[in-house]
């Protein structure tokens, strides 16, 4: 008799709590959009944040509710934006041009002078706070690999000399490395671009000559002798305009006295 009583009490307590939960579930129901889940299945799942939303699920939710523009997903590219437009029944805006990150610096401790030797925590921002880094060139790569650690696809590598490079095939264009880099030496270039300027220094030519063997000295050979290379020198640094034909860029790369026009892939 006693045991039956105990059983009844616990059972009714459970029932009561269960009913309370059922009511609460109704009140706090999170409405789910089926299309959002379909879109989430299509998105690459890198959760890189290149679209500006917190992860793929955030972007899927914003897309299905019409708050976000299609084609913001750079890892997915044109394929994903076509699939998304099919689900939502909207016109395919197409993805923008595929951009990849590129480290605009070839300097390392052998080729570039150092003001002092940094011995601190292995983090570029920390090193940059101390006189903008150990290198005499304050525009270049700090070689401490903060970008390597934030890269969601492990596309960034550092060789034994300390030079950091991005694998353009593995890069999904999420911009994380460009945001974490304190010297902004990592910038985006179009993936189709064959060459890139491997220097970020706005120091005048003589200064660059003194501190770095592979920096742009703003001699303007690329700009003047090879007008169809797409190179223009502004503020002591050559820059490639990828919108131009760039037919002479390979010759300009050969003619560059410090060889800082390099092949991007």
């Amino acid at each position: 008799m006693n045991i039956l009583f105990a059983f009844l009490i616990i059972a009714s307590l459970g029932l009561l709590l269960g009913m309370g939960l059922a009511l609460a579930a109704k009140k706090f129901a999170v409405e789910k959009d089926e299309r959002a889940e379909q879109i989430l299945a299509i998105l690459p799942g890198a959760n890189c944040g290149a679209c500006g939303y917190p992860g793929c699920s955030g972007y899927a939710g914003a897309l299905s509710s019409g708050k976000a523009q299609n084609g913001l997903c750079s890892p997915g590219g044109a394929k994903t934006s076509a699939l998304v437009s099919k689900i939502l029944g909207i016109a395919d805006g197409g993805a923008g041009e595929r951009m990849v990150a590129f480290v605009h610096c070839r300097g390392n401790n052998e080729l570039t002078k150092r003001d002092f030797q940094y011995e601190g925590i292995e983090d570029c921002s920390a090193a940059h706070m101390l006189f903008q880094g150990e290198s005499s060139c304050k525009y270049g790569c700090l070689h401490l690999g903060s970008c390597i650690r934030v890269c969601p696809t492990n596309a960034i590598h550092r060789d034994e000399k300390g030079n950091v490079s991005v694998d353009p095939d593995a890069c999904i264009g999420c911009l994380k490395c460009t945001l974490v880099c304190p010297t902004k030496v990592i910038r985006m270039i179009p993936a189709r671009g064959s060459h890139a300027i491997a220097c970020n220094s706005h120091d005048p030519g003589p200064v660059v000559r003194k501190i770095c063997q592979v920096g742009c000295i703003a001699c303007k050979i690329c700009e003047k002798k090879f007008p169809d290379s797409g190179c223009t020198v502004t503020n002591f640094l050559s820059d490639i305009d990828y919108g131009k034909p760039m037919t002479q860029i390979a010759d300009a790369a050969l003619a560059c006295p410090t060889k800082c026009i390099v092949e991007a892939r």
Binding site: I10, L21, A24, F28, V30, E122
Partner: protein, 196 residues
């Protein structure tokens, strides 16, 4: 005065994680960054406070009059499980980001022995309703304190070179042990000195 004593006791002297070693699972699992540590601490504090009230009511108004005190643990688990489900719904509705950050550790509050621990401790200490509630809140604050301290230590540790064998959880356990050692400085003598 009794309430001040309860707060000091459960936050410092009998800190659930660092002195009693209850609820170590989220202590290691959710202490990777301070944001989710604070979120987890809030959720646990909320659950502990409400659970203290409801379990006290269940025990004193239901189980004691019916002479069923031996069902204490069973009914407490039932109440706590329902509560955690409820908290989960609220968090999912109001803060999806926190819901994702907490992940599996949110439903795991159900099996968090710290919550059951405070419910049973309230009964064995013979607290009244208000004392039970403040003990629950204080224990939750103590839990949050340990979690936030730990997450800050781990955030800093991420920037330092740690030997491969110690990276991640091992060094976290060692730091947790050292923190527990530091918390041994708080003992009953502190309470008598403070409150006479």
């Amino acid at each position: 005065m009794a309430y001040v004593a309860i707060f000091i006791t459960y936050i410092f002297i009998n800190n659930f994680i660092l002195t009693q070693f209850l609820g170590l699972c989220p202590f290691i699992g959710v202490s990777k960054n301070s944001e989710s540590a604070i979120g987890m601490g809030m959720a646990v504090t909320f659950v502990m406070g409400i659970a203290s009230i409801i379990t006290w009511l269940v025990y004193n108004l239901l189980l004691l009059p019916l002479d069923l005190a031996y069902l204490q643990t069973l009914s407490f688990i039932l109440v706590i499980a329902a509560l955690v489900q409820f908290v989960e719904m609220i968090i999912q509705k109001n803060s999806p980001a926190l819901y994702q950050a907490l992940g599996i550790f949110l439903p795991l509050i159900t099996t968090n022995c710290a919550v059951l621990g405070i419910a049973i401790m309230n009964i064995t200490e013979g607290y009244n309703l208000m004392e039970s509630f403040s003990a629950g809140i204080a224990a939750g604050i103590g839990f949050t304190l340990a979690l936030v301290l730990m997450s800050n230590i781990r955030e800093r540790m991420d920037l330092h070179p740690v030997r491969k064998a110690f990276k991640g959880v091992p060094i976290a356990f060692i730091s947790g042990g050292l923190m527990a050692l530091a918390f041994m400085a708080f003992d009953k003598a502190l309470l008598t000195n403070l409150l006479g």
